[in-house]
């Protein structure tokens, strides 16, 4: 399997082509089978590759293959090259594994949709692009598929494009990402002009010799790359598109906006670890942005009422943790959290999807409640995912989040650690709030929807159960912390980069773990008190701090701020250019030329008398004049 890495991404590509061209003719069953089967084959290929990789000694776990040359111009060289090492192995397993379950779930969720083939076509294209993104062996190929997943994201957010809000959300996602991608493109260009290569191995080999550590160039490169990551992975200041992306079908939110695509930024930063390690300033920026985003998004999630938006803000917050981990040098922990997060966040989204499906499209948790009796499987799996997200022992999220916080504390980043700890408390609170309001208490379901209330079909609940098993147990590959099987596998990738975690061991691991667990448990306790024991508490708190509540409910007015600062000036500037430049200058000059010719022809057309004699006369005079000129004056 290692000799032909292309076998991993090729299946979804074939599925995309087949469903794209023939999807409407072959029927829904065939479309679903092809789509899921192709991702399933990728999963098998990835598992095979992982097995082969594990069979090798740790230092030989790196396979690089150039499939074909792509661009060769002068001394610029970029290839269709694939790289499999433990880092990309973890990524392809997450992408194809979680992706496969979500594809299966989609068969049930999208059953009634008339655009079923189009949905699976996009999903397969996305899976292909994402696999290529994580398998690319150079920055240019990474960039191409970085854009390709952005395109798929746009297509799938706007999947129900007849709905204006969905079409707008797709546009917003695309445009906001464009800002980040612009920075990313500049970073890649700067990388090439300063090092002359874009291949990972060559870049990382050349960087220490050709760039000054901590110097301006490497800082600029890494900050520009990170700008791209803030767009793709929804960090401050470019996170605004992700909550709106919930307009897409729920499986899309699960696959793209929770489990895989949004983690591309984290992957890219981890992949570029040797570069980031040379730029301490960029590392602190990454850590602080991550920490701030983690808290910021968590506070917004406290008061949201749309079940998918709560989970979306939770995603932003958890991505913040991953960047926090990268920023403090705990790359392995960040990727570990990426992996566990993929499982429990996909589960949360699919669970919300199951709820929405059961309630005939209702997304407002104020109109839910008491659903556990009606949809027990969804409720239990959702609870597992919520607790995993909250970081409760021994579920997956506990191990990875604790490791990130430990990395921050051990690395001496006290401020960042405090942000992470505050975020952990908030996370536990809003996840449990979401669970209680949805599944417990008395039912507030509208009678219309209550009538159709039902548990989802097995094609949807089976993926939920499988994901729940993973969300509960996948953390154990990283046990004991810092030295688990996962770490022995992944750490060598970051061996070149300094490993904060495990070195400055001035803080004990066990006390830190107990502390973070305690923080999460306090969050759970507060949520239970608020929403189970004393249901009147939330209203009292809101009544006491109405300003805070309103600010949070309006998401700190960031959308309004961006509207006023960016969108509106651009709109006004464009209007001005249209009225004051385009119309008078551009149109004016074009119309002016037309008017000039019109006026000229008004005079000249008098010559055309319609009287043949005069034409002949002028013809003869002309001929005589020319002949005379040649005969006498020359």
């Amino acid at each position: 399997m290692l000799s032909s890495l292309w076998l991993i991404p090729v299946w979804p590509l074939l599925g995309f082509l087949w469903n794209g061209f023939f999807g409407r003719r072959i029927g829904k069953t065939a479309v679903g089978t092809i789509a899921c089967g192709s991702v399933g084959l990728s999963l098998l290929a990835s598992l095979g590759a992982l097995g082969k990789l594990l069979a090798r000694p740790a230092e030989a776990r790196r396979v690089e293959q150039v499939l074909a040359p792509w661009i060769g111009a002068g001394n610029f060289q970029a290839d269709w090259g694939l790289l499999l090492d433990p880092l990309s192995a973890v990524m392809i397993l997450v992408v194809s594994g979680v992706g496969f379950l979500i594809h299966v779930y989609s068969i049930g969720y999208m059953r009634e949709d008339p655009d079923y083939p189009r949905f699976f076509t996009y999903m397969n294209l996305f899976t292909f692009s994402m696999l290529m993104l994580v398998l690319a062996n150079n920055y240019l190929l990474l960039y191409v598929f970085w854009e390709a997943v952005g395109l798929c994201s746009y297509l799938l957010i706007g999947f129900w494009f007849e709905k204006k809000s969905a079409a707008d959300a797709g546009k917003k996602a695309f445009i906001v990402n464009r800002v980040g991608d612009f920075g990313f493109a500049l970073g890649v260009m700067l990388l090439w002009t300063s090092l002359g290569t874009l291949r990972y191995d060559q870049v990382f080999a050349a960087a220490p010799a050709q760039l000054v550590a901590g110097g301006g160039v490497v800082t600029a490169i890494t900050l520009l790359l990170f700008l791209g990551a803030t767009g793709k992975s929804a960090q401050i200041p470019l996170y605004v598109w992700l909550p709106d992306a919930m307009e897409g079908p729920t499986p899309v939110s699960a696959l793209i906006h929770a489990a895989t695509m949004v983690t591309a930024g984290v992957y890219m930063v981890a992949r570029s670890a040797p570069l980031f390690e040379m730029a301490p300033l960029s590392l602190s920026v990454v850590a602080w942005i991550g920490g701030l985003t983690a808290v910021f998004a968590a506070t917004i999630a406290l008061v949201q009422t749309d079940i998918k938006r709560i989970v979306a803000y939770s995603t932003i917050s958890q991505l913040g943790y991953m960047f926090l981990g990268c920023g403090v040098g705990a790359y392995a922990a960040a990727i570990f959290h990426l992996m566990t997060h993929a499982f429990f966040k996909a589960l949360l989204f699919l669970g919300s999807g199951s709820v929405i499906h059961g309630l005939s499209g209702e997304q407002d948790i104020r109109k839910m409640g008491g659903l556990r009796k009606h949809m027990p499987i969804t409720a239990w799996t959702f609870l597992i995912a919520a607790l995993a997200n909250a970081g409760i022992f021994p579920l997956a999220g506990f191990w990875s989040k604790d490791e990130i916080l430990y990395g921050a504390a051990a690395g001496g980043y006290g401020g960042v650690w405090a942000l992470g700890a505050a975020g952990a408390f908030l996370t536990a609170f809003y996840m449990l709030r979401c669970y209680y309001l949805t599944f417990e208490g008395r039912s507030r379901v509208e009678p219309e929807a209550a009538h159709h209330l039902h548990e989802s079909p097995p094609v949807m609940t089976v993926p939920l159960v499988i994901l729940a098993v993973f969300a509960a147990l996948v953390g154990f590959v990283g046990v004991p912390p810092e030295h688990g099987a996962y770490h022995r596998f992944v750490e060598p990738v970051f061996a070149g980069a300094k490993q904060v975690a495990g070195h400055a061991a001035s803080v004990g691991e066990v006390p830190m773990a107990i502390l973070s667990l305690a923080i999460a448990l306090v969050g759970v306790w507060v949520a239970t008190r608020f929403y189970v024991w004393r249901p009147e508490t939330p209203d009292r708190v809101v009544g006491r701090y109405p300003g805070v509540y309103r600010t949070l409910l309006h998401k700190y007015y960031v959308d309004e701020l961006y509207d006023a600062l960016v969108v509106e000036p651009i709109r006004r500037g464009s209007l001005w250019l249209w009225r004051r430049f385009d119309e008078p200058v551009i149109d004016g000059s074009v119309n002016g030329i037309g008017a000039l010719i019109r006026v000229g022809s008004l005079a000249l057309r008098r010559v055309q008398t319609g009287y043949v004699m005069s034409y002949v006369l002028s013809f003869i005079v002309g001929v005589v004049a020319i002949l005379g000129y040649f005969a006498f004056w020359r």
């Binding site: 057309r605 055309q608 008398t609 319609g610 009287y611 043949v612 004699m613 002949v616 003869i620």
Partner: protein
């Protein structure tokens, strides 16, 4: 007695001028047409005269071309004139001003 070259050329120029005047002054399309033929044949005459006096066949060959073109022109031109006559019931060029602005 041999007719000198100048005589041919003078005759040719005279015929050509006659054609020009005909084209410029007459209003009947058929007469204009005939005048054009006259001009062509005036040129043919000078070609032949030069060919003879220079002992070269080039002029004669050219004359054949001119005659072929003239024949083709007659075919097309007469057809046009007939069509115009059918439509307008006149071949007076002064009355044909459809393409005037």
């Amino acid at each position: 007695m041999r007719v000198p070259l100048e005589a041919y050329l003078i005759l040719s120029a005279y015929l050509f001028a006659l054609g020009v005047v005909g084209v410029a002054t007459r209003r009947n399309a058929l007469i204009i047409f005939m005048s054009i033929e006259l001009m062509l044949n005036a040129v043919n005459l000078s070609f032949l005269a030069f060919a003879r006096f220079l002992n070269s066949m080039d002029g004669q060959i050219f004359v054949f071309f001119v005659m072929v073109v003239a024949a083709a022109e007659v075919a097309v031109g007469l057809a046009i004139i007939i069509t115009i006559y059918r439509n307008k019931e006149t071949v007076d060029v002064a009355e044909l001003n459809l393409l005037k602005w």
